[in-house]
Symmetry: C2
Subunit: 364 residues, 2 copies
C-alpha cells in the first residue's frame, strides 16, 4: 500500500509507493553526450573567466595562471551582482519598492554574489573520483568564501550547490559547484527555521539531532555512518534515492566546521557520490547545502546539512501544483540498494590520486 509520509523538517507530504520499490537498474539513465570545444575551466584557459576571487594550490603571486587545485571565479553571467543595489537601501529586504499600478507588486535590486567553484583542473573528475586532498580543497574553498561573504552586511544567505549532468542543470561539463549569496533568506530555509524552532520550543531538542538519533536507532534508511556524519535516505524522501548527509555534532553553520569534520565530510561525500556512480553510472543530481542565514542567531535549534537529490524522476504538474511529491522508491529500499554499492575504490591513501586520474582517463 502506498503511504503518505510527512517530512518533519520541511513539513511537505510525499506519496511513497512502498510496494513498487524500484531498484537502481530499473531507471534508465542516458549518459550526456560530450560537448567538445574549449573549456573555460581547464588549465591554460584562465583568461576565459572573470579574474579569480580565490585559488588554492599555487602561489598567490601568479593569479589566473595554471597550477591551482581549486579555483573560485565570479560567474560570467551572474544572476545577482553587488553593483545592482547601489544607493538603494542596505540590500537586506529594503530598497526597491512598489512597482506597477495599484501597488500590488514589489521588487528589490538584485543584489548578490554569484560565483563558480572549479573543483579540479581535471575536466572529467567528479565528487566520486576526486582524491581526498582534492575534495578537502573544494570544501576549504567553500568555507573560505562563506566566511568572507558573511562579512558583507548586504548579504543574508549563501546557497552552495552542485548541479551535475545536463538533467541536473549543469550547462558546463567541467566539474564545478556554485555559490549564490542573496539579500533575502530563502523560503525553504525560512520554513526549515520555523519548523526547527517550533520543535525546539516544544521539546527542548534540536530537530535534526533527534532525526539523527531516530535514524541511527531504526537503521533501515541508513547508508553509512562515519566519525562525524550520518548518511541516510530521509523518511519522506521526495525523489527516488534522495540522500541526506547530516553532521552528528550540532552546529548551525556549515562554515563553522573544524578540520576533522571537514576531512571526514570530504571522505563521506566522495564515498556517497561514488556509490551513486557505481549504482547508476551517469546519474544527474543536485547537491544542496542547507545552512544558517547570517541575519540572526539560530544556533540553538538549526542544524546545517546536505541534501543530495538525484534527478531520476521529473518534477511535473502534480509536484509543481501541489508542492507535494510522488516517490516510486521507498527510502528503505533505496538505502538497502545503496548499501550494496560499497565504494571500495575510494581508498584513503595518497596512491589514490594516481588511481583517480587513471579512472578519469579511462572514462574520457
Amino acid at each position: 500500500m502506498p503511504e503518505l509520509r510527512r517530512d518533519p523538517a520541511s513539513r511537505s507530504w510525499v506519496v511513497i509507493a512502498t510496494e513498487r520499490s524500484r531498484r537502481p537498474s530499473d531507471f534508465r539513465v542516458p549518459r550526456d553526450e560530450r560537448k567538445g570545444g574549449v573549456c573555460p575551466f581547464c588549465y591554460g584557459n584562465e583568461h576565459m573567466t572573470p579574474p579569480e576571487v580565490l585559488a588554492l594550490g599555487r602561489d598567490a603571486d601568479a593569479p589566473n595562471e595554471k597550477g591551482w587545485s581549486v579555483r573560485v571565479v565570479p560567474n560570467k553571467f551572474p544572476a545577482l551582482t553587488l553593483d545592482a543595489g547601489d544607493g538603494a537601501g542596505d540590500g537586506r529586504g529594503t530598497g526597491g519598492g512598489p512597482d506597477g499600478p495599484r501597488g500590488l507588486y514589489s521588487h528589490l535590486p538584485a543584489v548578490g554574489v554569484h560565483e563558480v567553484l572549479v573543483e579540479s583542473p581535471d575536466h572529467d573528475s567528479t565528487f566520486g573520483t576526486h582524491s581526498q586532498s582534492q575534495m578537502e580543497d573544494v570544501l576549504e574553498a567553500m568555507v573560505a568564501r562563506a566566511r568572507a561573504l558573511s562579512r558583507n552586511d548586504r548579504l543574508s544567505y549563501l546557497q552552495i550547490f552542485k548541479n551535475w549532468g545536463r538533467v541536473g542543470g549543469a550547462s558546463l561539463e567541467h566539474t564545478h559547484c556554485q555559490l549564490i549569496a542573496t539579500p533575502i533568506v530563502p523560503a525553504v530555509i525560512e520554513e526549515e527555521l520555523a519548523v526547527a524552532r517550533e520543535h525546539y520550543d516544544r521539546t527542548g531538542e534540536c530537530l535534526y539531532c533527534d532525526i539523527v538519533r531516530a535514524e541511527t536507532e531504526e537503521g533501515a534508511r541508513v547508508i553509512e555512518k562515519s566519525d562525524h556524519f550520518l548518511v541516510f535516505c530521509p523518511y519522506a524522501a521526495r525523489l527516488p534515492f534522495e540522500t541526506w548527509v547530516v553532521p552528528m555534532a550540532h552546529g548551525a553553520r556549515f562554515e563553522d566546521i573544524d578540520g576533522a569534520e571537514l576531512a571526514d565530510l570530504a571522505r563521506v561525500l566522495r564515498r556517497t557520490v561514488r556509490r551513486f556512480e557505481l549504482a547508476f553510472e551517469a546519474l544527474p543530481y543536485n547537491l544542496i547545502w542547507h545552512t544558517s542565514p547570517w541575519t540572526g542567531n539560530f544556533g540553538a535549534y538549526y542544524h546545517w546539512h546536505l541534501e543530495l537529490v538525484p534527478r531520476l524522476a521529473i518534477l511535473a504538474g502534480f509536484e509543481l501544483g501541489t508542492g507535494y511529491y510522488i516517490n516510486p522508491t521507498a527510502p528503505e529500499a533505496a538505502a538497502a540498494s545503496l548499501r550494496e554499492y560499497a565504494p571500495e575504490s575510494v581508498v584513503e591513501t595518497d596512491d589514490e590520486v594516481r588511481a583517480t586520474t587513471l579512472l578519469a582517463e579511462d572514462r574520457a
Copy 2:
C-alpha cells in the same frame, strides 16, 4: 539590471534577468522521438485501461468501446487509492499515525483518486489543435469529475493538470490530462489561501481580481483578453514564458463555471497553447489548475485560475535549495513575443475539426 521580484500570490521571489530577455528562437527545444507500440488510449484498445468512470460522445450502453470523444479512466498505476484508508479515520488528515522511533515521523494511508482524462481519440491532437467542441468536452469532463469527487468526504482537493512532452513529465504521448484527488490540501494552495486571505482582510478586495485589474491597466504583460479571461505573463514569472489564465469574474471553484465561461475557456486555452506551438514547435509544459479546496468556504477571497509552465529551463540546485527562481526572460518580453504569434489557424467554425485532423495527420 536584473531585478528581484516578488509574486504577490505565492510570495516567492524571482530573479528576473531584465537585460537579456531571450526570445523563443533562443531556446533549443528538441522534439521527442515517437515511441511506437500499441497505445492504450487509442480507439479499439479500451480494454487496456481500467474500466472508464466517464465517457462523453457515445451511448452510455456501450462502455469501454470506441466511439467516445473524451474518456476518463482510473490510472492503471495510481499514486493514491480509495482502498488505502479503509478503517483508518476519515482520510482528511486523520488516521495513520506516528511512525518510527521517537514519534518524529507521521504517515497517513495514501487515500485518494488518480484518474486519466484521455482528451481525444486522435493520438496526435493537442490543446492547440483540438476542435472547439473537442476542447469543450475535455473541460466538461473535468467539471463533471470535480463535482462527483467533491461529494466524497475523504477528499479535500482535486489537482487537475496536464503534463506535455517528455521533459514535462508525460510518460504516454497520446494527449491526456490527469486528476489527482488528495485527502490533504496541497501546501501550494494553503499558502495561496493564506496570502489571498490576508490581502482580503487588509483591502476588502480579492487579490486575483486586483491582479487582473492591474495587468489590464498596465498591459505590458498581457497576451490576450477574451470575454471572460485574461491571459498574461505574471509579474514575477518563475520560468521563461510562464503564462496565467485568470477568469475576470470572481469565483473560487473551477467546477462552478457556467456554460459561457466554459466555452470561452476552451477557446482561450486552444489559442494560448497554439501560440506556444507556433513559437516553439514542440514545447514541453505543465498546465496546472489552481482551485478551491473542498474543506471550507474560501469564496470571498480565493479565485481559481490556471498556470501554464513551459519547461524551457531546468529547476536545479538553486531553485530546489531556496524555493526561489532565476528567470532569464522578463515576462514583459515573453508577452510581447507571444503576442506576435497570433493563432490564426484556430478558427471557430465546424470546418476546423477537419483542418485539425489534417494537421495532426501531417505531423504524424
